[in-house]
Symmetry: C2
Subunit: 167 residues, 2 copies
């Protein structure tokens, strides 16, 4: 997956997403850690995004994940910020906070620091939450910090597109 | 200002900011409307940003400005989202929410829609909040949506740099 996704434009994927949401009358929100706002920036690069995008919480520090998105300290201690559990709570927290129909979360290790044997640089957990429930998935991206972040942005936008067509 | 700022790299300005904050032991946060996460994305493009950047609230919809940053409905009704009053409340709300030493806010009209005679496309209000107080300023940027957003990102990063050197 690492290689093929690099050439996909976040802005073009975001444009597809905005059209899909407009046509279905749904709204979305984000909860970003390692992408640092890249998903919301891509969505808002689309003129007219304000009709469907309510906002997003960039929660880089664990304290922000707790204070803004109500991720539990127990989850952060037990599983860490880069985990399915944290991704699920981030997506659900964002959906609740912004009152959106669909929310996506991204939490991973963009590098160059922060990697471990168990969770190497490039490990990213995502979750998408909607009225159908919340689903998490893990991806592993190759490349440097910039590439990992870009691939994670595109992956998250893809999850929103899928959710927008299946809610 | 519109022309000269276009060639400044957000990432390079962000790198300066991260170093300044590291050396002074301070943290920062953001509150973004029209830039949609571009400021936080620029800051988190810098490796090691996690030491100083706690997070940011992208509040695109007015409902998000109220729910996430506690901007008052009275302010939004009386002055609108693109106003010094709203910018001030956004910056203060972000600083409080993330527990940061410095927070910057951006709220403007990136276009192509949304402009009025009084507030044409390119009008952007900023505020920066720290222990020294909160200060708002207005800028008017020329260019299309992408350029307005990029100039606003650089302007906000510049305000953070100034704040980081003067707190």
């Amino acid at each position: 997956m690492g290689d093929c996704i690099v050439n996909i434009s976040p802005e073009k994927t975001a444009a597809v997403l905005v059209e899909l949401l407009k046509s279905s009358g749904m709204t979305c929100a984000t909860a970003e850690s390692c992408t640092g706002g890249g998903v919301s920036q891509a969505i808002t690069s689309v003129s007219g995004a304000s009709e469907v995008f309510l906002g997003g919480a960039v929660t880089y520090a664990n304290s922000a994940k707790e204070a803004v998105l109500r991720v539990s300290s127990d989850t952060l201690e037990r599983y860490g910020a880069v985990s399915s559990e944290c991704a699920v709570e981030m997506a659900e927290g964002s959906r609740r906070l912004y009152g959106a129909d669909i929310a996506v979360s991204i939490t991973g290790i963009a590098g160059p620091g922060g990697g471990t044997a168990e969770k190497p640089v490039g490990t990213v957990w995502f979750a998408v939450s909607s009225s159908s429930g919340t689903r998490a998935e893990k991806a592993f991206f190759q490349g440097d910090r910039e590439l990992v972040r870009k691939q994670a942005v595109v992956h998250a936008l893809g999850m929103l597109v899928v959710a927008a067509t299946s809610v």
